[in-house]
């Protein structure tokens, strides 16, 4: 898919909307930043490449005016889920879809080049070439992609008004999606408990995970900060941090679209998406439900069956 094609669509859409949300170059060559385009001159600066990781659909519910947004396949699930839950007015949104073969995790790239400041980035043939003061390094995108890309089922957006490129099919087996969860479950109970305690202990409660999450609808009225009800204190103990992340995960049960934003934005590198992914794997298993794929669906926690096929009464 060429950036030119994308710009063409942006220019076409611009007159009908207040803003087109896309990406532009950030403070250095590896950081791409969201770009709220208002004019044709802005559109000239738009970019699309494997560094366009951020899920731009997450801005939609906070915008009142008609907006166009550029989405990858994974990001489009956010829009589907918004439609399910009535969080956006579909007629007020123009979706520019991009078929995507995988993006790059900036954290993984930085690690691969020892966190040297990046002087230049080039792409060639499923590879990313990083130039630092220590020289050039070529990395296969498949090796530095976020985990979500490894099992991507929706390379082409599920909903769109314009598609910049030709639709592509997923090549990844559907069973692979929750393999990491199954692998993790092989650890003993104690190991898992210690793992989460250690990880969540790093949390500084900056709430980047919450604010970046497209499905975290409470946002400014988050229960993590209110004193009425007083769910959690402001103390910095493991219990309080764990509680916050449990709240986040449980509120997303059957709603998490697995965009991975929570994990991407965490400045402390905590695998915050793990809990949500686990819940999703259970939603799949219990209700054969995948969030964010069908606008007509109802999130499984918002409904029930009188006879639940897969929930059996537990014996003591």
């Amino acid at each position: 898919m060429s950036t030119e094609k994308l710009k063409e669509i942006i220019l076409k859409v611009l007159p009908d909307v207040d803003t087109v949300i896309g990406w532009q170059e950030g403070f250095d060559k590896i950081h791409i930043t969201p770009f709220f385009m208002k004019s044709p001159e802005d559109a000239e600066k738009a970019v699309w490449n494997s560094l366009c990781v951020q899920n731009l659909a997450a801005y939609l519910p906070s915008l009142k005016k008609k907006t166009a947004v550029i989405v990858k396949g994974c990001d489009s699930r956010t829009i589907v889920q918004y439609m399910q839950e009535g969080l956006i007015d579909r007629s007020n949104v123009v979706i520019i879809g991009i078929p995507c073969t995988g993006v790059v995790s900036v954290k993984k790239v930085l690690k691969a080049v020892d966190y040297q400041p990046i002087e230049d980035v080039k792409f060639s043939d499923e590879k990313i070439i990083i130039k630092t003061s220590k020289g050039e390094k070529t990395l296969a995108i498949a090796d530095v992609c976020p985990d979500k890309c490894k099992t991507c089922q929706y390379p082409t957006p599920i909903v769109y008004d314009h598609l910049a490129g030709d639709p592509i099919e997923s090549t990844k087996p559907a069973e692979s999606v929750y393999e990491d969860i199954k692998e993790f479950e092989k650890k003993s109970l104690e190991e898992r408990r210690d793992y989460f305690k250690n990880e969540f202990d790093k949390c500084i409660r900056c709430y980047a995970c919450r604010n970046a999450c497209p499905m975290c609808v409470c946002q400014d009225s988050c229960i993590a900060e209110t004193r009425d009800p007083h769910w959690i204190t402001q103390k910095l103990s493991s219990e309080e941090k764990m509680m916050f992340h449990m709240i986040h995960a449980v509120h997303l049960a059957g709603r998490c679209v697995e965009c991975g934003e929570c994990e991407r934005v965490c400045p402390m590198d905590i695998p915050v998406a793990k809990l949500k992914k686990k819940i999703n794997s259970e939603m799949k298993e219990l209700f054969d439900y995948v969030p964010g794929v069908n606008p007509e669906d109802k999130p499984p926690m918002y409904t029930f069956n009188v006879e639940e096929a897969k929930i059996k009464e537990h014996k003591l």
């Binding site: 109970l189 449980v250 819940i279 219990l286």
Partner: protein
């Protein structure tokens, strides 16, 4: 000392007002012998039990949590327990994933007339939690 023979643990029970709380009452009136580890919190309906009640209890000192509501099809509000069933099943699996033994958490249905069943549930669950022992180190236990 708990009735099951070891030091008393903390078990929190969320009981729906219409069935299970009545069931517990029936068991009490019938003078059925029960372990004393359970602290009961009465809720309007099992559907009122936010999974986070359970999490909060387990994180801040409880060794086990029991939720009990009306039998399916018998909910006082017709469908509260159906929602509860989905949520609590999800929670049960999440707890196990996070390293909290799923045996520390149990949800079940007991009607107001089932005093005997209530006695059985409490006794068995208490026994089950005692087999696992305390969840928290003493020093970690919140007041």
């Amino acid at each position: 000392m708990s009735d099951v023979g070891t030091k008393e643990l903390r078990i929190v029970g969320f009981l729906c007002n219409w069935c299970s709380y009545g069931g517990a009452d029936t068991a009490g009136v019938g003078r059925f012998k029960q372990p004393t580890d359970l602290r009961i919190i009465r809720v309007p309906c099992s559907g009122r039990v936010d999974p986070l009640f359970v999490v909060r209890a387990l994180l801040t000192g409880a060794d086990g949590v029991l939720v009990s509501g009306c039998h399916p099809r018998d909910c006082h509000y017709s469908e509260g327990n159906y929602y509860a069933r989905r949520r609590l099943e999800m929670l049960r699996r999440l707890l196990q994933f996070m390293g909290i033994d799923e045996k520390r958490f149990h949800y079940t249905w007991v009607s107001a007339s089932e005093g005997q069943k209530w006695q059985q549930v409490v006794t068995d669950f208490t026994k089950q939690v005692h087999e696992l022992g305390p969840l928290h180190d003493k020093k970690e236990k919140a007041d």
